[in-house]
């Protein structure tokens, strides 16, 4: 271990240290004084983490005995994760205040969960990925049930914990199967373990896949791979592992729901992207393709139909996140093709960033319109919003149009990117089913727009004081439009940089 190693893992380390510092400061100082100082400290650590990621630049470097790898993609995602954490901490201060919920632990949990997510996105060894997932998930379970006094929140926490613990076991089992299959295959074929790499390292697995004939179709490996993919899909809230997502999003306070929805997806999809790059061009039979297509289409159908008849807007966003998870998986599917791989990785990266912004913004609107800390959750509460609070209605309207993928919002470009990658990978009928799903989703989002603008209401203006959520929502909506019209100027260059250095593949190992 040397300074280079620490630097490469600096972002999660800073977040984890920040979590501890925030917790200890909270313990040591008086209640009233900590409120602003604690927020300040937490934000400081987030910014430090972003700076640390940024200084790593776009070139590939490995650290900690090749346990982690950092390149443009990881840097982008780590900066995004730190930004999500900072925004969540700022946006939730009002809600915590009105429920008299402890703030010190809250900030610490957000920072720790982000640290776990960052470990996950940069891990090259599957064991590290598992550690990252656990750090992230344990903090998630607590956050989902953070409003202990409320039954729904408690239920959400308990459900999330039970399902999550079960899935972690499956993930670990999957990793064990891969470990066993890689070891056996390499021994049987007389292949050396690459110097400095373990059997669970992605580089080793890649070597086995590409150099051992028939390894990609061996049942042991396929079972392990499917378990790994499935459990990561659970963490990303993809159907049919989506059952808890709407419950969790509805039960948790809006800013926390936004945090859970985005951080888990960013982290899980990034590590999936890395795993998929080693499967690209490998002979894995049809099994993995079939599983991935099935998961994607099921998510799109289940998510969009589930969203269509919701009475609660947070549940609607929950189902919407399932559907969007499905579109991202379609992008991953395209990354399995060697020719469409580069386009698919750019598309998925762009999709994840755009989805994070839209989702954080949508949940911020829900918190913004809340009253006395209660989220404005019932869709009927949005009736006639256009007359009462035009700004909020337009902001939410922009998010809904972006989620439906209408041009001039970023949602259109993300869908366009995924479909272009998918069609160039030859998935025509998959794209058609996905398009039908989009049409169903369109109805779900339009229903809310219709309630806001097209239906008269006698409801009185709710006096909202949540300035932080308002700021977050309006800035996110501005970004959605700017990225929808000028993505190249706003953000695309960084993504392009992020894929110039592709994740490590077996070819580089001798």
């Amino acid at each position: 271990m040397n300074f280079g190693d620490i630097h490469a893992a600096g972002a999660p380390i800073l977040m984890a240290v920040g979590g501890c510092v925030v917790l200890l400061t909270d313990l040591a100082s008086k209640r009233s004084a900590t409120r602003k100082f604690g927020t300040f400290l937490a934000i400081l650590f987030c910014i430090a983490s972003m700076v640390c990621s940024y200084t790593l630049g776009g070139q590939l470097r490995t650290a900690f005995s090749n346990g982690i790898a950092v390149e443009g993609l990881v840097v982008t995602m780590q900066i995004l994760l730190a930004a999500i954490a900072a925004i969540t901490i700022v946006a939730s201060s009002e809600i915590l205040q009105s429920f008299h919920l402890p703030k010190g632990e809250y900030r610490a949990l957000i920072l720790l969960a982000s640290a776990g997510a960052m470990v996950l996105v940069q891990s090259l060894d599957l064991v590290n990925a598992f550690v990252g997932i656990e750090i992230m998930s344990v903090a998630f379970y607590v956050l989902a049930g953070y409003r202990r006094a409320q039954a729904a929140s408690e239920e959400a926490g308990a459900k999330y914990f039970l399902m999550g613990a079960f899935v972690s076991a499956i993930l670990l089992f999957g990793i064990a199967l891969i470990y066993g299959s890689v070891g056996l295959a390499m021994k049987a074929n007389g292949l050396e373990l690459p110097q400095g790499y373990s059997f669970t390292n992605i580089v080793t697995i890649s070597k086995a896949i590409h150099q051992v004939p028939g390894f990609g179709t061996s049942p042991l490996f396929l079972l392990g791979a499917v378990m790994l993919i499935g459990s990561l899909m659970f963490k990303a809230g993809v159907a049919p592992f989506h059952m808890v997502a709407p419950d969790v999003y509805q039960g948790a306070p809006a800013p926390i729901a936004g945090f859970l929805a985005t951080t888990s997806k960013v982290a899980a999809f990034t590590i999936l992207m890395r795993f998929f790059t080693i499967l690209a061009g490998a002979d894995t039979g049809a099994a993995i393709n079939v599983v991935v297509i099935g998961l994607a289409l099921l998510s799109i159908i289940v998510g969009n139909t589930g969203a269509a008849n919701q009475k609660s807007i947070k549940r609607l966003f929950g189902y919407s996140s399932v559907a969007h998870g499905g579109y991202i998986v379609l992008g991953l599917l395209a990354s399995l093709g060697t020719e469409s791989q580069a386009a698919a990785i750019t598309a998925v990266t762009f999709y994840i960033v755009a989805y994070a912004i839209t989702t954080i913004g949508s949940f911020a609107v829900v918190a913004w319109l809340g009253k006395d800390g209660e989220d404005a959750d019932a869709i009927s509460a949005y009736r006639g919003l256009g007359k009462r609070n035009l700004g909020a209605a337009i902001t939410l309207g922009i998010f809904l149009l972006s989620l439906s993928g209408i041009p001039l919002t970023v949602g259109f470009l993300t869908k366009l990117g995924v479909f272009m990658a998918l069609l160039s990978a030859g998935g025509t009928w998959v794209a058609v089913v996905a398009l039908i799903g989009s049409a169903i989703g369109l109805y779900a989002y339009l229903r809310v727009i219709s309630e806001m603008f097209f239906v008269d209401s006698t409801q009185q203006e709710t006096s909202s004081t949540d300035g932080a959520s308002k700021l977050v929502a309006v800035s996110a909506a501005t970004l959605v439009i700017v990225m929808g019209v000028f993505p190249s100027q706003a953000l695309l260059p960084s993504f392009e940089a992020s894929v110039t250095a592709p994740p490590v593949s077996g070819d580089e190992v001798k």
Partner: protein
């Protein structure tokens, strides 16, 4: 003047932004100024000028998202310049003659000006992805206008309209992406050359033909893809309805002429008999449904299905005269139906009802208005010496020798249109007033001049159609004729 189309698009948008910032009282005049200048400039668009590339003039190219193949590529030929002129013209009269709803003047003008500008982007675009973006983005202002300012059933109408048209256009999107992957470009002229040279996979072209036909037929409300039209038109506020029925529905026919047929390959040719049959069915179906209505706005709305049926037939039969007639008829339909919807708006504003059973007595109460309305009706039923006759006659003439049965059925629909339109006029205009609260329809100076101008156009085109026909005949068949771009 290659930037002409940019100016035509940008002026209403700038006016819309200014109008939404200033006081409500000035919003209308600013909107009128912006759209009127755009309308005058689009007359210039008809004349050949600027850079000329393969039959298109005023060709303009600038990058938007070059990595995605998305460019600001514009160019006009006879057909698109006429449709741009129609759109800007309808925008102006919509702003002048239809009063904005009192509570949201600025939002109303904003939606109309933005819808008009985006429609023009679609008409003038030579980049097929840019066309798609404008085609779909133009739905948002319409959605807002129907939902916020529409009739009683507005929420349902808005959602139905939006979902229907977006499903169609999503299919189109998938086909466009398919073309891009096969050819590496979204540029219309390049695609046109590649398809003409047979360099694109026929199965891909087949999918493009099917998907784009569904998208464009939905937009043009061809039976059986017309289901959104009735509720949408009846509930759309009249100002937006002028654009929706007059200009945006034409995007469907324009798309068939511009994209489906040239880029759909042989399969698109084999679709022609089906499209012609559907067009003939639309003519008859629209006439029957219109005849059954008692709401005059509904009569005019469903008559649109019938009229669009003719236009679609003319667009696809592959006969030069019929295609020119079809382009001319798009213009005529925009003018005539627009005029009828304006009259309908006056009637419901002054009489408080649009039901034929509650009207009557308008002929004696409001002589100028009712005589103009009768003229518009004549144009709608395509009486000789009105504009409608020229277009329909050319379409039927050109279509007959290729599809005699379908054309015969469609011609029979013309009789139907005379029945329901004249019956509607008879019941709503003549006789004594059937309601006590009838008010005389008094036209202000601007309203009177708009209606008179429309009447003059109807007669003018009806008596001397040849100048417009000459422009309308330049509708895409010259593409590829001059391969080398030349600069004037």
């Amino acid at each position: 003047m290659n930037e002409l189309i940019l100016v035509i698009v940008a002026l209403p948008l700038i006016a819309a932004v200014i109008a939404s910032l200033v006081h409500e009282k000035s919003a209308k005049s600013i909107s009128i100024i912006g759209s009127a200048i755009a309308c005058l400039l689009s007359i210039l668009g008809i004349t050949t000028g600027g850079t000329i590339d393969r039959g298109f003039h005023h060709v303009f190219n600038a990058p938007w998202l070059p990595k995605l193949g998305l460019m600001f590529s514009f160019g006009l030929d006879g057909m698109s310049s006429l449709l741009v002129l129609l759109t800007t013209f309808l925008t102006v009269i919509a702003v002048i003659v239809i009063p904005a709803p009192k509570n949201a003047v600025r939002a109303y003008y904003l939606s109309i000006l933005v819808a008009g500008a985006l429609t023009n982007v679609a008409f003038a675009s030579l980049n097929i992805l840019l066309f798609y973006i404008a085609f779909e983005a133009a739905l948002i202002p319409v959605l807002i206008a129907i939902g916020m300012f529409g009739g009683g059933d507005r929420s349902k109408a808005a959602i139905q309209f939006f979902v229907f048209t977006v499903i169609g256009s999503l299919l189109l999107l998938s086909a466009i992406i398919g073309l891009r992957i096969a050819t590496g470009t979204f540029d219309y002229l390049t695609l046109h050359d590649l398809v003409a040279a047979g360099a694109v996979d026929p199965s891909l072209l087949r999918w493009f033909a099917i998907a784009s036909f569904i998208a464009f037929a939905t937009k043009a409300a061809v039976v059986p893809l017309h289901a959104w039209l009735g509720r949408a038109y009846i509930n759309t506020p009249t100002g937006m309805l002028l654009l929706l029925s007059g200009a945006m529905a034409k995007l469907g026919v324009y798309g068939l002429i511009r994209f489906t047929l040239p880029l759909g390959g042989d399969f698109a040719e084999s679709l022609v008999p089906l499209i012609v049959t559907l067009g003939a069915v639309s003519v008859v179906y629209g006439a029957f449904v219109a005849a059954a209505q008692t709401d005059i706005k509904a009569v005019i709305a469903f008559s649109s299905i019938s009229h669009m049926g003719y236009i679609v037939i003319g667009a696809v039969v592959g006969d030069d005269a019929a295609r020119s007639g079809s382009v001319l008829q798009m213009l005529n339909h925009g003018i005539t139906t627009g005029a009828l919807f304006i009259c309908c708006d006056f009637i419901s504003r002054y009489r408080g009802s649009r039901q034929v059973t509650a009207l009557g007595g308008i002929w004696s109460d409001s002589p100028l208005f009712s005589r103009l309305l009768l003229l518009f009706t004549f144009s709608s039923v395509a009486l000789p010496l009105t504009n409608g006759f020229v277009g329909e006659f050319l379409i039927l003439l050109g279509a007959f020798h290729k599809f005699p049965y379908q054309t015969a059925i469609a011609s029979a629909g013309a009789i139907g249109s005379a029945v329901y339109m004249l019956w509607m006029i008879q019941r709503s205009i003549y006789g004594g007033s059937k309601s006590d609260a009838s008010k005389v329809i008094s036209l202000g100076v601007s309203e009177r001049s708009v209606l008179l101008a429309l009447a003059l156009m109807i007669i003018g085109i009806g008596v001397a159609p040849s100048p417009l026909l000459a422009i309308a005949s330049d509708n895409g068949h010259k593409v590829g004729a001059a391969m080398q771009p030349e600069v004037k």
